[in-house]
């Protein structure tokens, strides 16, 4: 067990988890995924990973 978690990896993992959750909800017909919804979600996930990565490198 690491003393401190790897923050960029943690953010990336949670972001991918959230994206997978959205896809799973669509496959279970709980939501109706369209490009108008998926495109911003995918961009937000990619952006969160890049920001976390960039902030960790600045330290």
């Amino acid at each position: 067990m690491r003393a401190r978690p790897d923050i960029p990896a943690l953010v990336a993992g949670l972001a991918v988890l959230a994206l997978g959750g959205v896809l799973l909800l669509d496959s279970l017909d709980a939501i109706d995924l369209t490009f108008a919804v998926f495109a911003p979600v995918a961009c937000a996930v990619a952006g969160a990973i890049l920001v976390a990565n960039g902030l960790s490198r600045e330290r």
Binding site: L14, F35, R57
Partner: protein, 386 residues
């Protein structure tokens, strides 16, 4: 950056090799090197600015302008990247070689410009057609490898080329993975790929506390992207792959549902003896085209959903993403009205009559083609207008 900085006096610069010590009172010989401290890509423009003692921004603007004027900028930049050493790798130059070095640089630039000029004049578009995508691919490769490994675009030309190649390999690998995951999402159980993405996300998050598995992020995102596109476009591969063409002879032969996974689905009703009143027809295509040809005396009510692509209804084109097109005209008494429901993931829904067949034969028609009201045929006369 000032020329004096090349002597290694800058506060944040590595010392640079500029040749043997010049005799007291004489300036050290200048060499054209790629700048370490002032670089955007490979330090070529920074080095040129320092060498000629002008703002490197001018060289950068010139390079970008030459890229868009036929791609000569790419050629020149790649040549400089390969031929001009980094400032910390520059070999000492012998006294008296400065003039020869400068002459060689001038000659090389002149030769490259002479070589590039015909491309600018005659083959600019062709050269740009190859050069710009190639440069974008190399640039994307460097960027991807930077993101994946943390190794930036620095070092020798060989290092940069190696990183670009590794980055391009990652891009190609992700593209193949995208296709495989997309096929799996469309052909397999709906929950399978999303569950894999959730599992990958959980593994990455857990790894942050145990042992980071950052390498898993790009493939997980690629798989998620493929599954997302398939889900958003509502693509499924039921019905197989290929071209299917149906020409039912009567309403008995006409099925109420036709589907194709990938390919073209054509339902030609021109020879079909259709009953009066409403006739339902349901088409489902994953990726490709759903094409319905109706008799001239049939009215068509259309309800079409296209994830990415267009609906071409009697020549009127409606395209984009998440296209939901609905057109429900009333039919004249004692005529047939076809109730068409079409669902296409990526591609086109096309409906026309025999006039439209002639129209399509004579006019190139494709996705996002501008309508021409004088040329495009209208809804059949069997529909009630107004």
């Amino acid at each position: 950056m000032d020329v004096n900085d090349t002597q290694g006096n800058g506060p944040d610069e590595e010392p640079t090799v500029e040749g043997p010590q010049a005799p007291p009172g004489e300036p050290a010989p200048k060499r054209l090197t790629r700048s370490r401290g002032d670089r955007v890509v490979g330090g070529v423009c920074g080095g040129l600015g320092r060498y000629f003692n002008v703002d490197p921004l001018l060289f950068r603007i010139g390079a970008v302008a030459l890229v868009f004027l036929g791609g000569a900028g790419i050629l020149l930049y790649l040549a400089a990247l390969l031929l001009v050493p980094n400032e910390d790798q520059a070999a000492p130059i012998a006294p008296g070689a400065q003039g020869r070095n400068r002459a060689l640089v001038v000659a090389a630039v002149v030769v490259l410009l002479i070589v590039a000029w015909p491309f600018l004049l005659f083959g600019g578009a062709l050269f740009a057609g190859i050069g710009i995508p190639l440069a974008l691919l190399v640039g994307a490769g460097v960027l991807v490898w930077w993101l994946v490994s943390g190794e930036g675009p620095s070092g020798s030309a060989g290092d940069i080329a190696r990183r670009a190649a590794l980055g391009v390999a990652v891009v190609i690998g992700c593209f193949v993975l995208f296709l495989v995951a997309g096929f799996g999402a469309a052909a397999g159980p709906d929950w399978l790929i999303p569950a894999l993405v959730v599992a990958a996300g959980g593994a990455i998050a857990a790894g942050a506390f145990l042992k980071p598995v950052r390498w898993l992020v790009p493939p997980a995102l690629t798989i998620a992207l493929a599954a997302g596109v398939v889900a958003a476009a509502d693509i499924d591969f039921d019905g197989g792959i290929g071209q299917r063409e149906y020409r039912p002879g009567s309403s008995v032969d006409l099925r109420d549902h036709y589907d194709v996974g990938i390919g073209q689905l054509v339902v030609d009703l021109r020879e079909t003896d259709l009953p009066k009143g409403d006739v339902p027809l349901d088409l489902d295509v994953g990726i490709g085209e759903a094409h319905v040809i109706v008799p001239d005396d049939v009215c068509v009510a259309t309800d079409a959903d296209v994830g990415m692509g267009n609906v071409a209804l009697f020549g009127r084109d409606h395209g984009g993403v998440d296209v939901a097109y609905e057109d429900a005209p009333d039919a004249k008494p004692t005529t047939t009205r076809l109730l068409l429901h079409a669902d296409v993931g990526m591609g086109q829904v096309r409906v026309n009559d025999s006039r439209g067949e002639l129209y399509f034969d004579e006019h190139e028609f494709g996705p996002f083609h501008d309508d021409d009201p004088d040329l495009t045929p209208a809804q059949p006369a069997a529909c009630v207008t107004g």
